[in-house]
């Protein structure tokens, strides 16, 4: 067994960043790069298999899937990252507060809320939001964030409780550091790594969930391309033309993979424990 010196395994971080950069260029450059108008329908060329003309084929309206995927990335990524950050922020805050003041009334109340939300039929939330505030992507994000932070909060809290057993925490306490300072310096760094890994992983789930609620009127409305709804709409033709799913699916996988690599790369940097190779 050898100890890897300074082995913060930068490879995953770098690969992740490179993939992300390529994706970002492709998506931001969609207006220039996309070969066709993403919403232009052409009944004569519907459900075509990938070819030289249409690299990823066409959908049921004869729209070019590559163009739609590139254009759709903006909506998808922007909205899912926004939701992710919001849920992360709430989750970390609540989780740390609950963990820090563990056993207090605050902790109990927060945990009860979390319990309720965990078991709550999410669809009811989504429906209420669609009914009260109207349809659209923003309201979808509202619905998603309102329940999504819960898992981050729970995880954060458990990490914090764990960390409180450690010597550095006790030391900080003894030295009279303020609660805020302890949170920021001791607990946040420890909590953020598992939570970040979870978050990068959840990104894919989130993107899929954007489509999942479109039947309620939440999510991107036609004809705007968006990865999640492209997958959902492709389902009707799944057996006839599975290629419809390939474009958006590949981009989702690449995005999630990139974030996952970055997340784990960051974790390696943030992790308070040195790594050991066995």
């Amino acid at each position: 067994m050898k100890r890897r010196l300074n082995s913060k395994n930068p490879a995953s971080l770098i690969i992740g960043l490179v993939v992300l950069a390529i994706l970002a260029i492709a998506i931001l450059g969609a207006p220039l790069l996309a070969p066709y108008d993403p919403v232009a329908q052409n009944a004569a060329e519907r459900l075509e298999k990938p070819s030289e003309k249409h690299w990823l084929g066409t959908d049921r309206f004869g729209r070019d899937i590559l163009s739609r995927t590139l254009h759709g990335g903006q909506t998808t990524l922007l909205s899912s990252l926004l939701a992710l950050c919001a849920a992360l922020a709430i989750g970390l805050l609540v989780g740390m507060a609950a963990g820090m003041f563990h056993g207090s009334a605050l902790d109990h109340i927060l945990m009860r809320i979390i319990d309720v939300l965990l078991a709550f039929p999410f669809m009811v939330f989504a429906m209420v939001i669609a009914g009260l505030f109207g349809t659209g992507l923003v309201h979808l994000l509202l619905a998603v964030v309102s329940v999504w932070w819960v898992s981050f909060a729970r995880l954060t809290r458990s990490v914090v409780l764990h960390a409180k057993n450690e010597t550095s925490y006790a030391a900080a306490k003894v030295l009279g550091a303020s609660n805020l300072a302890i949170m920021r310096k001791e607990l946040l760094p420890k909590a953020i790594s598992p939570v970040l890994i979870l978050a990068t992983f959840e990104l894919g789930t989130l993107i899929l969930s954007i489509a999942a609620l479109s039947f309620l009127g939440l999510g991107a409305q036609p004809p705007a391309p968006e990865w999640g709804s492209m997958l959902a709409d492709g389902r009707a033709h799944f057996f006839q033309a599975p290629h419809i799913l390939i474009g958006p699916a590949a981009f989702i996988v690449a995005t999630v993979l990139a974030f996952n690599l970055i997340g784990e790369g960051l974790r390696d940097r943030l992790d308070p424990y040195e790594k050991l190779e066995l």
Partner: protein, 323 residues
């Protein structure tokens, strides 16, 4: 010990109370009127004049007590609940309690089986990924996990059905709840849920490896087997939280999988009821779901103390750590 149990019970009741309050208020904010939705359109052909329809709606609303003040409705419902009565479905006229009881076994069976698959996959591949950290096996597992986590459930479910039911003819597509029909949805659901567990297991193990190294840096000749065993044991503890979360999600009903495999569980029943605003059913379902989550957390406590003997000594604090 008694006080702890008592406190747990009180907490559980409090959670349930919160849940009932929130669900009661929210579901009534959602658009759509259950009475109108149930009556549907007046016939296959549109009728002229709607006064009879409106009268019927008003009559039914009164009959169901929906015309009363929401607070009154809530108290009435709580009162019935105290007597163990979940109410009657607006749509089917059947007891919500018995309707849920009829579907719960299918969902619990499926959830437990899927959970076992998830845990098995999570442990095995998480361990492999951690031991081969940074190597090819680790990278392959990573890509597989990401791909699975980013694949819509319907793709996996439909492909499984097309293969096993149509191509090989070894799976029967029906609406029955039977042992012979369990394996395919359980496997599908298990595989779909495994990625998170794999990644968390890997991360936990790597952290534990690091800790052990730090703590035993001075001691020479650390035995690899012992390190792994020790690390695995510690890594399991945080994993329990994940598994519990996973189970809590499953128990609410995996709607896509239940629907694709036409598994007669609670997920689709709840969803149908939500869409038609069948208030008593939604309330009953939410209540049962919260109850299950509370129960799961209690079980997690038990598992925790079994896995981590320290918790016995530390009492309260340790027990709470699972959260």
């Amino acid at each position: 010990m008694h006080t702890v149990l008592l406190r747990k019970l009180l907490e559980a009741l409090l959670t349930l109370f919160f849940a009932t309050l929130i669900i009661f208020a929210l579901i009534r904010l959602a658009p759509g009127d259950p009475v109108r939705l149930m009556l549907g359109h007046p016939g296959e052909i549109a009728a002229q004049g709607t006064s009879a329809y409106d009268e019927k709606v008003a009559e039914l609303r009164a009959e169901l007590g929906l015309d009363r003040n929401i607070a009154v409705q809530y108290v009435t419902w709580l009162g019935r609940l105290a007597q163990g009565d979940l109410g009657t479905s607006i749509f089917t006229g059947k007891q919500v309690g018995s309707e849920i009881a009829a579907r719960l076994p299918a969902t619990v069976t499926l959830s437990l089986s899927a959970l076992l698959v998830q845990i098995a996959l999570g442990l095995i591949f998480g361990m492999v990924a951690a031991l081969r950290s940074g190597k090819l096996a680790d990278q392959l597992i990573r890509v597989a996990c990401v791909a699975l986590a980013s694949t819509p459930a319907f793709v996996v479910g439909l492909v499984a059905l097309a293969l096993f039911a149509v191509k090989y003819g070894v799976y029967e597509i029906s609406s029955d709840f039977s042992a012979a029909r369990l394996w395919l949805p359980a496997l599908t659901l298990g595989v779909l849920g495994a990625p998170q567990l794999v990644r968390i297991m890997r991360a936990n193990l790597l952290t534990e490896f690091g800790k052990i190294y730090v703590s035993s840096a001075q001691s020479r000749g650390l035995d690899r087997k012992r390190v792994v065993r020790h690390a695995a044991r510690n890594a399991l503890i945080p994993l329990v939280t994940m598994v519990a979360l996973s189970f809590a999600g499953l128990i609410g009903g995996a709607v896509v999988i239940e629907s694709i495999f036409s598994w007669p569980g609670i997920g689709k029943y709840a969803l149908d009821s939500i869409l038609v605003k069948d208030y008593p059913v939604i309330q009953g379902y939410a209540l049962v779901a919260v109850l299950m989550v509370v129960l799961i957390h209690f079980l997690v406590d038990v598992v925790y103390s079994a896995l981590d003997p320290r918790i016995h000594h530390k009492g309260e604090a340790g027990r709470e750590e699972k959260a």
